[in-house]
Symmetry: C2
Subunit: 182 residues, 2 copies
DNA sequence: AGGGCTATGTAGCGAACGCTACAAGAGGAA
DNA sequence: TTCCTCTTGTAGCGTTCGCTACATAGCCCT
């Protein structure tokens, strides 16, 4: 009997790719297994049950997200908060980030409803993004910590408005904040 | 045979109450029917299929939300943007709004993924909230339209951060924006 | 060599899913 | 009265769900 030596570590990347494409809502064992080249039977064997599978998967995806942020970290800092915001919005509109974004709202919904594992993953991703953002603040910023949290709040609001088709509202809001130019 | 004369109109309020409590993710016909005092058979009879049921339900909930906003409309306008923001955040933290908020992230997730009906409902709710917010802007505000969109972006960002356990981040962000006081 | 232990395949369980076929009661129309 | 339409109940279809029972092939240890 062949032993492709499947483990959680080798499984998680392919599972992550599947949920990034198809979302968490319809993530049931058999499609997940097919995407990972194994069977539902083996997913249960390796993870115990579906809930821990999802929890570990969310943790893994949070790690992926952290890696993507690190990769996006430029060596030169922006000169102003305006530049900073512009860079981040450019980063978030990259196609590679779109799949993350769509999945992100699944995670937020789960976190808001209290589904086990979701809040932890969401919190970790936001904490990581906040740290990244603080590192991206202008060197001469009078209040990098507060400024990063301010930008963060604006960015997340803009992303949400964009997700529901209110991109224009967000754009005009950022304009009125004085942190974006037309 | 008794005819309790059930129609879409009499059904929708009870269906809405159910999804406000249990969310849209697990909203399947039989539990929905039980909550509405009927059977899955009759839900299909009245709505045709589940997709149109959900679509109509989302529209109805958008109407509920609009009504809640109207009810929250005070006759006196706030004097400053700061007051305005404070009032809105107070409004959003009312217990009656919590169920809406949890459901809201379900809707956002569906809208982001392109599930039929979700984007329309989300857009309608945001449009309505934006109009309400514009009406709440200070009478002497130099740019009510832009200011409302700016506040909107901040508020939605703060709500999202709150949903994932980053309330403190949002609070410090609002503080750094100069629109909130400690 | 033999006995565990780990990893896997096959088959299937009971439940829930969206939806449908069929019959039947109630009320109006002819 | 007789028929026809609207509304409802009962039963069940085929599918998918998470999960399990059981068998078995390879590996390591003694």
């Amino acid at each position: 009997m062949p032993q492709p030596q499947l483990s959680r570590e080798t499984l998680l990347p392919r599972l992550a790719a599947h949920v990034l494409e198809h979302g968490l809502g319809g993530a049931s064992l058999r499609p997940l297994a097919r995407a990972a080249g194994t069977s539902d039977r083996m997913l249960i064997y390796h993870f115990g049950n579906k809930e821990t599978l999802i929890t570990e998967l969310l943790g893994y995806i949070a790690g992926l997200y952290a890696g993507a942020l690190d990769a996006a970290l430029g060596s030169d800092r922006p000169a102003t908060r305006q530049d900073c915001l512009a860079r981040i919005l450019a980063e978030g509109s990259k196609p590679a980030m779109q799949a993350f974004l769509v999945l992100w709202w699944d995670i937020v919904a789960g976190a808001a409803r209290g589904v086990p594992g979701y809040r932890e993953a969401a919190q970790e991703m936001m904490t990581r993004q906040l740290a990244w953002l603080e590192g991206q603040m202008p060197a001469d910023d009078p209040d990098p910590a507060g400024g990063a949290r301010y930008l963060m709040t604006l960015i997340e609001g803009a992303l949400m408005l964009g997700a529901v088709g209110h991109d224009d509202t967000a754009q005009q809001g950022l304009l009125a904040s004085g942190l974006a130019s037309p």
